[in-house]
C-alpha cells in the first residue's frame, strides 16, 4: 500500500513538473495556459494525496475553474496575430535560466536535504487525528475570523479595482479588436496590396472608352 502511494506521488510529481516546464517554454500562449491548467490539476491531486481534501476541491474550483478561465479570456482579448510568430522568450533568457537553476541547486536542495526535520512520531494504536474541512470551518469562525473578513474585503477591493482599471470612459473608448476582426483587417490589407494595380487600370479604361465615343 505504501509503495502504491509512493508511485502515485512520483507520477503526480512528474506530471506537475512536465506541465510546468511546458507552460514556461511552449510557444503558443494559449497552449501555455492549457498546460498551466493541467499543472493545477496535478497540484490538486497532490493535495488529495496529502489528505487535504478541502484544499484539493478549492484548488480545482478556484484555479481550474476561475483563474484559468480569466487567463484564457485575457489571452483572447489581447492576442495579436502578427506577434504570434515572434519569439516568446527574452533575448537573454539564459540569464533568466541561470538564476532559478542556481537557486534550486545551491540553496533549495542542500537546505531541504540536510535539515533535520522534527517529524512527530507515528501514533501506535489509533489513527492520527487530521484536521479536515469541519475543523477549518470552525477555525474560520473563531480564531481566524478577522483574517477571514479581511480576505473578503480584499476580494471586494480586487473586484472593484479590476473593473476600474479595465474600464474606459465612453468618449475615449477605443475598441479592442476581436480575433475575427483582426483576421478580416489583415485580409483586407493583403487584398489591397495584391489588387492595387488592377483598379487603376480598370478605372482608366471606361473613361477612355467614354472619351472615345464622345
Amino acid at each position: 500500500m505504501n509503495t502504491l502511494i509512493t508511485i502515485l506521488f512520483l507520477v503526480f510529481a512528474v506530471f506537475i513538473l512536465v506541465a510546468a516546464i511546458m507552460t514556461v517554454t511552449v510557444k503558443n500562449i494559449v497552449h501555455a495556459a492549457l498546460w498551466l491548467i493541467s499543472s493545477f490539476f496535478g497540484v490538486g491531486a497532490l493535495y488529495l494525496l496529502m489528505e487535504a481534501e478541502f484544499l484539493g476541491v478549492a484548488q480545482v474550483l478556484i484555479y481550474v475553474g476561475a483563474v484559468s478561465i480569466l487567463i484564457l479570456f485575457a489571452i483572447m482579448l489581447t492576442r495579436d496575430l502578427e506577434g504570434s510568430q515572434n519569439r516568446q522568450l527574452t533575448p537573454r533568457w539564459w540569464i533568466a535560466l541561470l538564476v532559478p537553476a542556481a537557486l534550486f541547486g545551491l540553496l533549495i536542495v542542500p537546505t531541504v536535504m540536510t535539515h533535520a526535520w522534527q517529524l512527530p512520531p507515528p501514533p501506535a494504536g489509533q489513527p492520527p487525528s487530521i484536521s479536515g474541512a469541519q475543523q477549518i470551518g470552525t477555525a474560520f469562525m473563531r480564531e481566524y475570523l478577522l483574517p477571514f473578513e479581511v480576505a473578503a474585503i480584499l476580494l471586494l477591493v480586487a473586484m472593484i479595482g479590476a473593473i476600474v482599471v479595465a474600464f474606459e470612459e465612453r468618449e475615449q473608448r477605443r475598441r479592442v479588436l476581436t480575433l475575427a476582426e483582426q483576421v478580416r483587417l489583415r485580409r483586407q490589407r493583403q487584398q489591397q496590396v495584391a489588387t492595387l494595380p488592377e483598379p487603376a487600370v480598370s478605372a482608366v479604361q471606361p473613361s477612355e472608352a467614354t472619351g472615345g465615343e464622345t
Binding site: 514556461v24 498551466l36 487535504a52 487567463i71 516568446q88 532559478p100 531541504v112 487530521i130 477549518i136
Partner: protein
C-alpha cells in the same frame, strides 16, 4: 492505515515544490508576453501552497493553521490574477501590445 507521511519522505515533497517554484521563476523572468509572466507567478504561488500543505501534513497534522494559510494564499492569488489581467487589458488598449519590453515609457 497507510498514509503519505510513511510512504513519501518530507524532503521529496519540498524538493518538488522547490523545483516548481524555480520553473515558475524562470517563466516569470524569461517570457516576453505579460500573460506568460502572470502564468509563471501562478506556478510560483502553487509551489508555495504545496510547501504549506506539506508542512501541515508532516509536522502539525492536527493544527489547522497550515491549510488556513494555504487558503488565504489561494484567495490572494485569485485577486492578483484579476488585477493583473485587468492591467494587461488596459495596457493593450493603450499601446496595442502585450510584450513587456515594448511597454517602456518609464525607462530612464
Amino acid at each position: 492505515m497507510p498514509s503519505m507521511t510513511e510512504a513519501v519522505p518530507l524532503p521529496w515533497v519540498l524538493t518538488l515544490a522547490g523545483a516548481l517554484f524555480c520553473v515558475g521563476l524562470f517563466g516569470a523572468l524569461s517570457r516576453r508576453n505579460t500573460v506568460g509572466i502572470l502564468l509563471g507567478i501562478e506556478l510560483m504561488l502553487n509551489a508555495v501552497n504545496i510547501n504549506l500543505v506539506a508542512f501541515w501534513r508532516y509536522l502539525e497534522p492536527n493544527v489547522v493553521a497550515g491549510q488556513t494559510f494555504a487558503l488565504f494564499v489561494i484567495t490572494v492569488a485569485a485577486a492578483e490574477a484579476a488585477i493583473g489581467l485587468a492591467m494587461i487589458i488596459a495596457i493593450y488598449r493603450a499601446r496595442q501590445t502585450v510584450n513587456a519590453d515594448e511597454v517602456d515609457s518609464l525607462r530612464g
